[in-house]
């Protein structure tokens, strides 16, 4: 059976060049980068090269990059670390209703410890406006955390305008750029970003590695205490193979950004067009133009997302409904509810995300498959016959 992977926003395969880069660090250059002997110093040199490489892809200085175990750790660290280190300034955070759970659940944990959190509304496209942020700012606002690109609906925020509002009020600006990094050229200074979370496994690098960009001068406490690694800010023996893989993936992403975006955009538009032309009662979610180059998020009325995924899976097609992390949950996606979709429509969502290995045939095959499975599920649905029968 044909295998069509359309879940690149959940995770990506590791590129061959990246695996190749990692291999020597398992068996030969395996030293602990904190050791002063040759094995350690060799690892240390590679580590600092990797840091410089990753820094370059963000137009940042190497000493602003701190390696972590992934996007979730970076998000937790940014929020908990900044709030803990800036208590004298205040205890108010502003974020949005459409953040990833790594942000939302961290905010909830902070609330339990006394922080005040404003969860901003978004418009029907998932956009936050600078005006709304302006209105939410308070004198005790320490941090504004707004994601760069939403993982479900693909909407991209006006980061520069938002960070300006935060700074005008003396607050720090964090962005969860896990979905944006590798899909947009991010210049941390030009965008006014103080802290930024990124993750390796979304850009064809290994899982379990990521980074937090911390602008010089930002006050932040540690999340993981211990050894003096990462300039004493993030303890733990450096995951050198993982970091080398991450850096290689970042380098490739940065070098090929234009062609990557062009490839994704073309297939994304083709996929969406195919769906809209072949299936009725479909709603396209997210912003029409300010969006992730590979993200298609649609709701098929009268059917439920999981059933759709399973049916597609039976045809070899891998997609997702809501974000991967919340599957198994009974509630429809918090993001789709936040953009104002009624529950029954939100339940029928499908996210298909294009990546570097996606082909035109994959897209065509998927459109054909969707036509068939949506129809099959609708024929079973008590909601669809009401519509057809003109009942209700």
């Amino acid at each position: 059976m044909r295998k069509v992977y359309l879940d690149y926003s959940a995770t990506t395969p590791v590129k061959e060049e990246v695996v190749h880069e990692m291999l020597p660090y398992f068996t030969e250059k395996f030293g602990n980068a904190s050791s002063i002997h040759g094995f350690g110093q060799e690892a240390k040199r590679s580590l600092e090269q990797a840091r410089a490489t990753v820094a370059k892809t963000m137009h940042a200085a190497p000493d602003t990059i701190y390696f972590t175990a992934g996007g979730s750790e970076s998000d937790n660290w940014a929020l908990k670390g900044v709030m803990s280190a800036n208590k004298s300034k205040g205890n108010h955070i502003i974020t949005t209703k459409i953040e990833h759970h790594a942000i939302l659940h961290t905010c909830e944990a902070l609330e339990k410890e006394g922080a005040e959190v404003t969860y901003m509304e978004v418009d029907e496209y998932g956009l936050v406006t600078p005006e709304a942020l302006e209105a939410a700012m308070r004198p005790n606002t320490v941090l504004v955390s707004i994601m760069f690109i939403n993982n479900e609906i693909g909407t991209m925020q006006p980061i520069k305008a938002l960070s300006e509002v935060a700074h005008k009020h003396g607050a720090l600006f964090h962005t969860d750029a896990v979905q944006a990094y590798g899909n947009v050229d991010i210049d941390v200074n030009a965008y006014g970003i103080d802290l930024m979370s990124v993750s390796s496994h979304k850009i064809y690098g290994p899982k379990g590695v990521g980074a937090l960009y911390i602008k010089k001068g930002v006050r932040i406490h540690n999340l993981i205490e211990g050894g003096a690694q990462e300039k004493k800010r993030r303890a733990g023996t450096e995951n050198i193979s993982g970091i080398m893989g991450f850096a290689k993936a970042a380098e490739l992403a940065y070098a090929n950004l234009e062609s990557h975006i062009a490839h994704l955009t073309k297939l994304r538009d083709q996929l969406l067009k195919g769906i809209l032309e072949n299936v009725d009662f479909v709603k396209h979610n997210g912003h029409p133009t300010l969006r992730h180059p590979g993200n298609v998020n649609v709701c098929f009325e009268f059917i439920e997302g999981e059933a759709l995924l399973l049916s597609l899976n039976a045809k070899g097609i891998a997609g997702s409904s809501g974000s991967a992390c919340t599957s198994g949950s009974l509630d429809p996606s918090h993001v789709l509810l936040a953009i104002g979709l009624p529950h029954e429509i939100a339940h029928g969502s499908l996210r298909l995300t294009i990546g570097d290995f996606t082909t035109e045939e994959d897209v065509n095959y998927t459109v054909e498959a969707l036509k068939e499975v949506v129809q099959k599920l609708r024929m079973m649905s008590p909601l669809y016959d009401k519509i057809r029968g003109g009942q209700k």
């Binding site: 439920e304 999981e306 399973l310 198994g328 529950h343 029954e344 649905s381 008590p382």
Partner: protein, 147 residues
Amino acid sequence: MYTEIVMDHFMNPRNVGEIENADGIGEVGNVKCGDIMRIYIKVEDEKIIDIKFKTFGCGSAIAASSVATEIIMGLSIEEALKVTNKQVVDALGGLPPVKIHCSVLAEQALKAAIYDYATKNGKTYAGLEGFDPHDDHDHHDVVEIEF
């Protein structure tokens, strides 16, 4: 995640559809929760001689509907009222904890259909005692516990 039996019932659901002039129709669940199950029954001599379903919901909701109709087909109403969600789960070879509520829903949908039949025909069944077809949030307690 799902057993092969679940996947088989999901991919090839038995008794899907409608029964024209059904003797009883039960619908439970709601769109907010993401699952609605509708069961149609045809009754003769207090026996369920035909049963069909339509379901809006996840894979296990569809599989549970399907396997439930298989279990019930041909049973007497009294027997059908004794069918529990556990039997549905067992017949499916198990369901993940978060999906147990789907089996509850199937049990409820059947009861709602029999309730409809009973109401239309002025009958009462011991097995329906305490059953309220509009109380379709019941299953959520189950979920919360199982989480």
